[in-house]
């Protein structure tokens, strides 16, 4: 008998990894080429799409130089609720909100994470549709003029940050969509703030520290993100010291092959963007780490290259264990961690920081 703690686990798993086959359902739109972005409206929520997330990561430094990493992601997932959709109760579920919050205390080799799940309830969770304001309880990401305010955590681990864009946002992918598969609608609308100046406070294990650094923000919405035969993805966000940023993702298929749909982008110091197709870059795993918690084996060290830019980078995690096991029994597991990048570009030595996200490595995800 497969027992689960009612609540988190089931939904996290459903939410994050079971996206296929839902574009057909009547209620939700598909992400298609030709979408016209309209800000600040598109910073807000898109209830017409099945899946949406606001994703923030960053590498921060305290005044004494202590390095930290953080992740705060809010997810919204539309719910079909076939039987209950006519229920006039305000508690009727039309969207489920989830949030993941993680802090990496790199100096002390400590990784902390927490999660939330909620229906809208009576103001308990939600997202505005005209601007960015998404929250669950007291965790929130709120647009405030040009800046964004993040808040998450509880008494002993807490994050309060103000993010100010140093570059304008970039629309990822081509034609307004980032393709995830060959099927129609297997794509998302996806834009990023790739360089956000970040300032605020962190409470790390009960101790408050002032921090500053750089953050990255992704906002993505669509209705079918992973196609059949796709098992997970590896995703990289890199902020280099020369003022450029790189984003890569590759979707892995059941046989271990990289899906040709994988892509990436370069954001130059002046803010212009160049789209990268799968053939334009290589991501090669170099060293692996087996998680003692989940038993999953992750490729944590990589070499990355973009021949057109004469860029070669090696990537290393700031801390090996940055794995989120959202529940033991269903093994909702992924790795999302602050990472360091070093290499050369155009013959010049270069380095930077960023985040790597590795999903679909814990096989038990699919259940026994």
């Amino acid at each position: 008998m497969n027992k689960y703690r009612l609540g988190y686990a089931l939904f996290c798993w459903i939410m994050l990894f079971q996206f296929q086959a839902f574009a057909e359902s009547g209620r939700f739109e598909k992400a298609r080429t030709g979408y016209t972005y309209n800000f600040p409206r598109d910073h807000g929520s898109h209830p017409d799409f099945l899946i949406e997330w606001w994703y923030f990561t960053g590498n921060l430094t305290a005044k004494n130089g202590a390095p930290y990493g953080y992740e705060l992601t809010f997810f919204r997932r539309g719910i079909e609720n076939t039987q209950g959709k006519n229920n006039p109760s305000k508690w009727t579920v039309r969207d489920i909100y989830l949030a993941h919050f993680a802090v990496t205390d790199i100096g002390n080799k400590t990784f902390y994470y927490d999660e939330k799940i909620s229906r809208e309830g009576i103001g308990k969770a939600g997202a505005l549709t005209d601007k960015m304001e998404v929250w669950i309880d007291r965790w929130s990401a709120v647009q405030n003029g040009e800046t964004m305010l993040l808040s998450a955590g509880d008494k002993s681990w807490k994050l309060d940050l103000t993010l100010t864009p140093l570059k304008p946002l970039v629309i990822q992918g081509e034609g307004g969509i980032s393709k995830k598969g060959e099927v129609d609608g297997a794509a998302s609308h996806y834009y990023s703030f790739t360089r956000l100046q970040s300032k605020g406070t962190l409470i790390v294990n009960g101790e408050e520290v002032s921090v500053s650094g750089l953050s990255w923000m992704d906002h993505e919405f669509g209705s079918a993100l992973l196609g059949d035969g796709q098992v997970g993805w590896d995703w990289f966000s890199i902020q280099l010291d020369d003022g450029s940023e790189y984003m890569f993702y590759q979707i892995r298929e059941k046989d271990g092959q990289k899906d040709p749909i994988s892509s990436g982008s370069i954001i130059f110091p002046d803010g212009t963007k160049q789209h990268l197709k799968a053939k334009d870059f290589t991501l090669t795993p170099q060293a692996f780490w087996k998680s003692p918690k989940s038993g999953a084996t992750y490729p944590l060290e990589w070499t990355l290259s973009v021949p057109s830019e004469r860029l070669r980078l090696s990537a290393k995690p700031a801390l090996k264990d940055q794995e989120l096991v959202t529940n033991k029994s269903t093994r909702v597991v992924y790795w999302e961690g602050a990472s360091l990048f070093k290499g050369e570009k155009d013959g010049q030595a270069i380095q930077g920081k960023g985040y790597i996200e590795l999903t679909g490595y814990a096989r038990a995800l699919q259940g026994k």
Binding site: L6, G84, V93
Partner: protein, 858 residues
């Protein structure tokens, strides 16, 4: 040292050899076993109750409820602003009956509508799903489907239900269809014996007609902040209409009543213990008398008084300790049975208790043995002192000292009178609601007072008998002579017997008074010819109401004279839950009545209707110290409603009292249009059965779950519940009687041993065996008669204390004192029957005494 060992050896050997030691032991063990079993049962039931409450409370630190009814859900916005509120669980709930069960019996479910997405962080429960992981559609549809319901494993197995099975509930005469979507395990699943079901809050609001409303909000607050601080802050923030409290407070009223109930049981079970005390006392005293020679011998050999004292105390201790151990073992076995009865009784009277697992806690065992030790030591003191003060010569001679016959009964009488006086003073102590310490103390004193009177009564009785039996057969006179002679030994025995009888009689009088009062009350207040209510109405907290169309439908029937729609709801009056009843007072005044403390039913009600006042039950008046004419303010969803107490009426429910108003007020101020019960008055009340059949065929189809019952039937049902409640009380009393019976047998046994020689001579001069038997039986008869006379008197006073002091304080009822004359006859039959039974075996033994041996005894 060696001397000591020798003494103990002699003493113990003595003890083991004597049959009466074993009788005493059994008596003490019985007394302790009853006490222990009640204590165990009380604790098991209480802990089962607490466990289910705790599991239910879970991590909740504060709960928010409406004072006048459900809360507006918008309130959550305000609660959320409080920085120390970490988690908020909104709850919509209803207690509803299942439409039908495979077991054939519809059970009552507490249906909790909760936010299933976060419930696990409040209450410890796990859901067992299907083998395979659910895919998205199934998972959400299963949980959020308004027809989905989660049942407990206990319940599902009892009803033979599986995931996917239909599970219809009933509400206002209609069916609410549900499907079993999952099985709950874990602690919460034990609540209410498994009769709890969870549905999603959205479904609950929709299907239970509570859109926009919440019945309760549970909060988890920050660890470091005192809950009191948050409570007072939230109270201010949320305003008057809302009650913010500790979750434990919800059950305070129930706990108070449970406490009183259990205390009364414990007190009753102590009766057997008390009788056991007399038994030990008696045994040892007899032993002193019987072993005078031995004592004299020991004293001559240089054993001092202190050692003799210790010797006899030790004997008492040995009996007490062994009795304690035996009693604890027997009590543990007895408890198995008592627990069952007790949970049934508590469930039908106060609150649903899950089947209580029998817990046998060590402390209770230790307590049982300790009680044995203390009681025995205490009761051994006087006999031991008696033994110690014997002079060696006196003892050796085996002559009765002057003190043996000449017990100073006048001084004892004086002591008794003093105790009785103190007891009376205590009973007049100002009453406090709850634990009646003065009542219990007064009862103990009055029992002791009458015990002290016993020797005087024996003497008086003996003199009277002497005169009466002047011409009777020798057996009567012989027995009388011996009765008086052995007053020191017979006194305690009769006292013990008297005490047991008195307590029995007082409880009988109390129950009879109670019963008569209730019968009178039902007869006068239940006048409607037919009552209609949902099948689940008899379950204390069912929320099932009647279909709206029922009341006008019945009103239109030709046979019907009038209909009274009755609605009851719980409001928070002065922060405590109080039952508020709305009914058609005009109809009630015309056709039925309340028994008011002052004024006629019609007069008071008429005024109450005009002034928009309320009437309250006596219990409620006691609970809140309210008087007629007091101004009170009731919280309503439309703001505070000031009103007056127009009258106080007698009521004998166990619900902590109620407040009654005209139903029109409930409609205007609470917007409550529901009805729980219809009281139907017929034009021709000679044939309620035909109308009942008509009603049943029209509205009473099984799936609607409506019950129509005639007045006669309804009254009988109430009385059945009443009688069942006192079952355990009667059982306790019988055990006390058995213990006393052992005491009588014991004393008579000794009496025979004492008089071996006398009986031998008696036989030698020509008495037949039947004649010997007769003498002994007559003495037993005398003892029974004396015990009963004193017992009746003592029982009478005890019953006054029980009815007017203890019961009043514990439950708030005024009972009409009712002394059934038949009690006198019954008690006589019981007392004499018991005494004769106890005397028969010693008598037979006496008759078997070997002539030669007996005479050669010296």
């Amino acid at each position: 040292m060696t001397q000591k060992i020798l003494l103990q050896f002699i003493s113990l050997r003595h003890l083991l050899r004597e049959k009466r030691t074993w009788l005493t032991l059994i008596g003490v063990a019985l007394g302790i076993s009853v006490f222990v079993s009640i204590r165990i049962a009380n604790q098991s039931v209480l802990s089962a109750y607490h466990q289910s409450v705790d599991a239910f409370t879970g991590e909740t630190t504060i709960e928010v409820v409406g004072r006048s009814g459900p809360l507006d859900e918008i309130l959550l916005m305000d609660i959320r602003k409080d920085p120390d509120v970490l988690k908020i669980a909104p709850i919509v709930q209803s207690v509803l009956p299942m439409a039908s069960g495979k077991s054939g019996r519809g059970e009552i479910m507490l249906v909790m509508g909760v936010d299933l997405l976060q419930e696990a962080s409040f209450r410890p429960f796990e859901v067992a799903g299907e083998e395979k992981p659910l895919d998205l559609t199934t998972a959400f549809d299963a949980l959020l489907n308004p027809e989905s319901i989660l049942l407990t494993r206990t319940f599902a197995e009892r009803q033979g239900l599986n995931i996917g099975d239909p599970f219809p509930l009933r509400k206002e005469g209609a069916l609410l269809d549900f499907k079993v979507a999952g099985i709950i395990e874990g602690e919460v699943a034990q609540t209410r014996g498994g009769n709890i079901a969870f549905i999603d809050i959205a479904a609950a609001q929709w299907r239970l007609n509570k859109l926009g409303l919440l019945d309760r909000v549970d909060l988890i607050t920050a660890d470091g902040v005192p809950v009191e601080t948050i409570i007072s802050r939230l109270s201010k923030q949320l305003g008057e209409s809302v009650l913010v409290r500790h979750p434990q407070q919800r059950n305070q009223q129930v706990e108070k009543m449970l406490f009183s109930f259990q205390l009364n049981l414990t007190a009753l079970s102590a009766i057997s213990l008390f009788v056991g005390l007399f038994l030990i006392y008696n045994t040892l005293l007899v032993s002193v008398v019987h072993r005078r020679k031995e004592i004299g011998l020991l004293r001559s050999l240089g054993v001092d008084r202190a050692q003799i004292f210790r010797l006899f105390t030790l004997e008492g201790l040995v009996i007490g300790t062994s009795g304690g151990f035996l009693g604890v073992l027997a009590g543990a076995m007895l408890a198995r049975w008592v627990v069952q009865i007790l949970s049934t009784t508590v469930t039908s009277l106060y609150v649903a208790i899950p089947p209580s697992p029998l817990s046998l806690p060590m402390p209770l065992f230790v307590e049982g043995v300790l009680i044995g030790v203390v009681v025995s030591t205490f009761s051994a003191l006087f006999p031991a002192w008696q033994a110690a003060r014997l002079k060696p010569r006196e003892a050796m001679e085996g002559v009765f000292g002057p003190e043996e016959g000449g017990i100073d009964h006048r001084r004892l009488l004086g002591g008794g009178a003093l105790l009785a006086l103190v007891s009376y003073a205590l009973s007049q102590w100002p009453m406090a609601w709850g634990f009646s310490w003065n009542g219990y103390l007064a009862s103990a004193l009055i029992l002791n007072a009458f015990s002290l009177v016993v020797p005087s009564v024996i003497l008086f009785f003996s003199k009277g008998i002497h005169r009466l039996t002047a011409g009777a057969a020798p057996a009567w006179r012989l027995a009388q002579g011996h009765l008086e002679q052995a007053i020191r030994r017979n006194g305690p025995t009769i006292s013990a017997f008297m005490a047991a009888l008195a307590m029995m009689i007082s409880v009988v009088i109390m129950i009879e008074s109670f019963r008569t009062t209730v019968v009178l009350w039902i007869d006068q207040t239940i006048q409607s010819d037919i009552l209609g209510f949902p099948a689940s109405y008899m379950v204390s907290d069912s929320d099932e109401t009647l279909p709206q169309e029922l009341l006008p439908g019945i009103k239109n029937m030709d046979e019907v004279k009038a209909v009274d729609g009755y609605r009851s709801r719980i409001i928070a009056f002065r922060d405590e839950p109080v039952e508020l009843v709305g009914r058609d007072l005009a109809v009630h005044a015309q056709n039925s009545k309340y028994l008011f403390q002052q004024g006629t039913s019609e007069g008071v009600i008429q005024q109450v209707i005009e002034q928009q006042a309320v009437v309250i039950s006596e219990v409620l008046a006691n609970r809140f110290q309210l008087k007629e004419g007091d101004r009170i303010t009731l919280p309503t969803p439309k703001g505070p409603f000031p009103t007056t107490i127009g009258g106080i009426f007698y009521d004998y429910g166990t619900d902590g009292g109620k407040m009654v108003m005209d139903r029109s007020l409930l409609k205007t101020h609470w917007s409550d249009h529901e009805i729980d019960v219809v009281a139907i008055y017929l034009k021709d009340n000679t044939k309620p059965d035909t109308v009942q059949t008509q009603l049943h065929s029209k509205w009473g189809q099984t799936d609607q779950g409506l019950v129509f019952t005639t007045q006669v039937h309804f009254k009988k049902e109430i009385m059945d519940i009443f009688d069942q409640t006192f079952l355990i009380t009667y059982a306790l009393e019988w055990i006390a009687i058995v213990v006393a019976l052992l005491g009588i047998a014991n004393t008579l046994f000794v009496s025979i041993l004492e008089r071996r020689r006398e009986i031998g001579i008696f036989r030698a001069i020509g008495a037949s065996r039947p004649q010997v038997i007769r003498v002994v039986l007559v003495e037993a008869f005398y003892m029974g008669v004396i015990g009963n006379i004193v017992g009746l008197a003592c029982g009478f006073f005890l019953s006054l204390l029980l009815i007017f002091v203890i019961n009043k304080a514990s439950f708030g009822w005024t009972l009409q004192f009712h002394f059934p004359p038949v009690v006198i006859l019954h008690s006589f039959l019981l007392a004499i029957g018991t005494a004769l039974l106890a005397g028969y075996f010693p008598a037979k033994k006496a008759a078997e005494i070997d002539l030669k041996e007996a005479i050669a005894y010296e």
